[in-house]
């Protein structure tokens, strides 16, 4: 029997690691992976609180979050492929096609 706070601590730790990844890395692929970490942190919290309130709604929301993650990964990776074809790079600070 684990206190629900522990799950929230774990979720906030994972969330922070994801935010650090998004802010510091240059590789767009790793930034997308960090976003997946953030979404998983949210899911941990959703499931923990769903069990705490003895309701299944949190788990349903977690399924929707996973759906969004799939959509985001598909579109994001499509963008990366299209960008790589034009500029031969995946560095976030070199993505400046709007700037001539």
């Amino acid at each position: 029997m684990i206190p629900t706070e522990y799950y929230i601590f774990l979720g906030s730790g994972l969330f922070t690691i994801g935010v650090i990844g998004v802010l510091t890395r240059r590789n767009v692929l790793v930034i997308l992976m960090s976003i997946e970490l953030i979404l998983n942190a949210v899911n941990i919290n959703l499931v923990a609180l769903s069990q705490y309130f003895r309701s299944v709604d949190g788990q349903v929301f977690a399924i929707f979050v996973i759906t969004d993650a799939a959509a985001e990964a598909a579109v994001g990776l499509g963008l990366i492929i299209a960008f790589f074809r034009n500029k031969e790079t995946v560095n976030a600070d070199e993505i400046d096609l709007l700037k001539w």
Partner: protein, 169 residues
């Protein structure tokens, strides 16, 4: 006691592999560690008797999204990126922001964590099983959101195909 030990091991695996995800130089290694982290999160779901979500996590996340990631990492030639700097130039600012975030989260959880007053209680699965309970909720209370989610996936699929296509005629 055994439950707490399992939780501690899973939490350690998740946090360590998440740190490895954001620090590895080679993106393929990042994907591998992300898979480990996702398995750990799946274990957390199982620990909380969310069996259906565990199956979704393994099949969809590890089996679907991660294979997509791996595919794109292999497609995008990373020989150059491996030799370049890993972190952006403004990483000090980013680190400061992250430290502020940690301080804020820690303050909120430390000061109001007791106020949350969330004692753990022995978990019981729904009498008919978790999958049935989730299915009932999905197809009764959340009928419209499910339809919208399916439309979102369709749009994402079409968008990904159009963007990754070599040339638009």
């Amino acid at each position: 006691m055994l439950e707490l030990a399992t939780f501690a091991i899973l939490a350690a695996v998740i946090l360590v592999s998440a740190i490895l995800v954001i620090t590895r130089r080679n993106a393929v290694h990042s994907v591998m560690w992300l898979i480990v982290a996702l398995f750990g999160v799946g274990g957390i779901y199982l620990l909380q008797h969310a069996e259906f979500l565990f199956a979704v996590q393994i099949i969809l996340y590890v089996g679907g999204i991660m294979v997509l990631f791996l595919f794109v990492v292999m497609l995008v030639n990373l020989d150059v990126a491996v030799k370049q700097a890993r972190f952006a130039r403004h990483w000090q600012v980013a680190l400061l922001t992250a430290v502020l975030l940690v301080a804020q989260l820690g303050y909120a959880l430390y000061n109001h964590g007791q106020g949350l007053n969330l004692p753990g209680h022995p978990l019981v699965s729904a009498p008919a099983g978790n999958t049935q309970a989730v299915g009932m909720a999905l197809y009764q209370n959340y009928m419209l959101p499910v339809e919208i989610a399916s439309l979102l996936l369709l749009v994402a699929m079409v968008g990904a195909v159009i963007m990754a296509k070599r040339k638009l005629e």
